[in-house]
């Protein structure tokens, strides 16, 4: 029987890491959320549920986040899947390289800059003007949930494309031939083989996008104007502008709890749904 000590010692840095990276920040947020706002902002230690009682004031931000985040995730999936499929299955190597570069290169310029450009494209001088010239007057895009959704799809598409691409790429093409050989038409082969085997990629992509959307504030701020606020915006407002750390922490703590619940339910569903041994990659 070998001693368990060396292994435990190896786990020590990992434990410290977990504490500093996850537990400590969350603990700070949790402690703050029971405190009070100082006279000049910031935080004053206390134990009160006042901040939580105040949550309904930010109801719209919660509502927007919890409707547009799933919707945006789904929309990104719908747009990303055909692209990833084309990349992984249909494209010849040269086209594939070009396409991959095209998807990656936009990443090289900050999302900030690229999203600003959308303000113009969706704004009065952009698409609505083109539509007006075509006879469709009075279409408003900027500062609507639609604009936010477009921004989300735009910004998160590569994050969705890549995991799906990877799972489709490593899909053994002979499985598709085997399915056809056994009498399955290409459409049924897609449903019976391709789709189930790309589930890990779909699950990873959706989770990644959804989690990041829960903290999103850039896109709603830029493309939603003052009209479509997310919780991310509420946090920026509370911490940076009004410096109400206690209330901000209560919002953040609530968000984390909501997210952990959603993610764990989702994980359970995915685990049961795919029923795969080890293909469940987390990133």
């Amino acid at each position: 029987m070998r001693s368990k000590w060396p292994e435990r010692l190896l786990l020590l840095p990992a434990t410290v890491w977990l504490l500093v990276m996850l537990v400590l920040p969350l603990a700070v947020v949790l402690v703050f959320s029971f405190g009070e706002r100082g006279p000049a902002g910031g935080y004053v230690p206390a134990f009160t549920l006042a901040q939580y009682a105040n949550l309904p004031a930010r109801f719209t931000a919660f509502k927007n986040t919890l409707t547009l985040a799933p919707l945006g995730t789904f929309a990104a999936l719908i747009v990303a899947y055909p692209l990833a499929y084309f990349l992984a299955v249909k494209a010849n190597p040269r086209v594939k390289t070009i396409l991959l570069v095209m998807i990656i290169v936009p990443f090289w310029t900050s999302i900030l800059i690229r999203t600003y450009a959308w303000i113009f494209i969706l704004g009065g001088q952009g698409i609505p003007k083109l539509l007006a010239m075509g006879g469709l007057e009075g279409i408003r895009l900027i500062n609507t949930p639609t604009a936010v959704l477009i921004g989300i799809i735009y910004g998160y598409l590569p994050l969705m494309v890549f995991p799906i691409y990877v799972s489709l790429e490593k899909l053994d093409k002979r499985l598709l031939e085997a399915s056809e050989d056994l009498g399955s038409s290409p459409l049924r082969t897609f449903r019976n083989v391709t789709l189930p085997l790309s589930m890990p990629g779909i699950a990873t992509g959706c989770m990644l996008v959804f989690i990041l959307l829960m903290g999103e504030f850039l896109v709603p701020a830029l493309l939603g104007g003052g009209k479509v606020f997310f919780i991310g915006n509420a946090l920026v407002d509370l911490f940076l502008q009004s410096r109400n750390w206690a209330y901000g922490s209560a919002v953040a703590a609530t968000l984390v709890i909501v997210m952990l619940v959603v993610v764990s339910i989702y994980m359970k569903l995915v685990m049961r749904g795919t029923n795969q041994r080890k293909d469940m990659s987390l990133l």
Partner: protein
Amino acid sequence: MKHKLATPSASDTPVVSFSGVWKRYGVIVAARDLNFSVQPGEFLSLLGPSGCGKTTSLRMMAGFDQPSEGEVYLEGERVNGVPAYRRPVNMVFQHYALFPHLDISDNIAYGLRQRSPRPSGEYIEKRIAEILQLVRLEGFEQRRIWELSGGQQQRVALARALINQPKVLLLDEPLAALDRKLRREMQIELQNLQRNVGITFVLVTHDQEEALSMSDRVCIMRDGEIVQIGSPLDLYDRPKNKYVADFVGKSNFFEGHVKQVNASYIDVQLDCGVTISTVPSVEMDQHHAGSRVSVSVRPEQLILARDEKQLPEDCVIKLKARVLNRIFLGEHTEYLLRDESLGEFLALSPRQNEVSESPFETSEIVHVAWGREASLVLGDD
């Protein structure tokens, strides 16, 4: 020929038939004017090195590839352009290509469930049970693919194809991933299975031993062309040319030219000056005095002896050679020999002969002889 294949008589219709089939990929020709047919219940092997067109031919039978030119028939029906999922053939893929997201019984039932109308649940259950018994995997229904050994996966792949009762079962190097001992076992199993189910088998392989030991007929291919089709015995004893003689078993080749064509044999003068009497592997009239030929002598046809008197009387050649190397191969011993005029050549001596006398040693001088029937004049390449 084409018309006969297109309008075949009822009973002896070939299951598969290629008529003038070409397959081009851009400028590359993967199959060149293929003409052959597979009879019902036959076990045919397509044998050749990689890139010889054997896999392309198989894929054209399966429907994954379509011929650029020529006709492919299944049971007398032209199937050019018919996609794989509409053809009554099934394939066992090289690395099995089992569905990792389905368990064994769902893998096996896959083909049945694609039928319309879809068979009843009980019928499918019954068929799965039958086929699992056939491949000796009873009780494996709920297992996952990765829980099986290579040999078991191989059997599931067979079961998944056989359950559809295909007109032809196509096998694409089905044993390549197994180790030697297991491969030997699976070869015997496959052969028995084919006899039991009576389904026509077409096997693609680059392993000559596999092709020779399992098939009724072997089709030897090179550069997209068929070189020779025949029974294993035919190919071994009457190889059309040097390529076949070299690919099917080992052989010693001696170059020379035809000196005289006689009634039933041919005198060949080898480049070293020796003249030997030989038999032709192809039609006699292909050979003319003066034409360059190769003479093939199988290593096991060479007779070795310490004492010249032990050699049989009726030999076309008798010589003395030095043993350069001896390799012990179990049932027989392989000697690398060297003769002044013939150069280096191989001889195989069965162990039976060595039980009574001791094996020859390296550097020993031995007497070598072989008969006329053992020296084959080969045709042009």
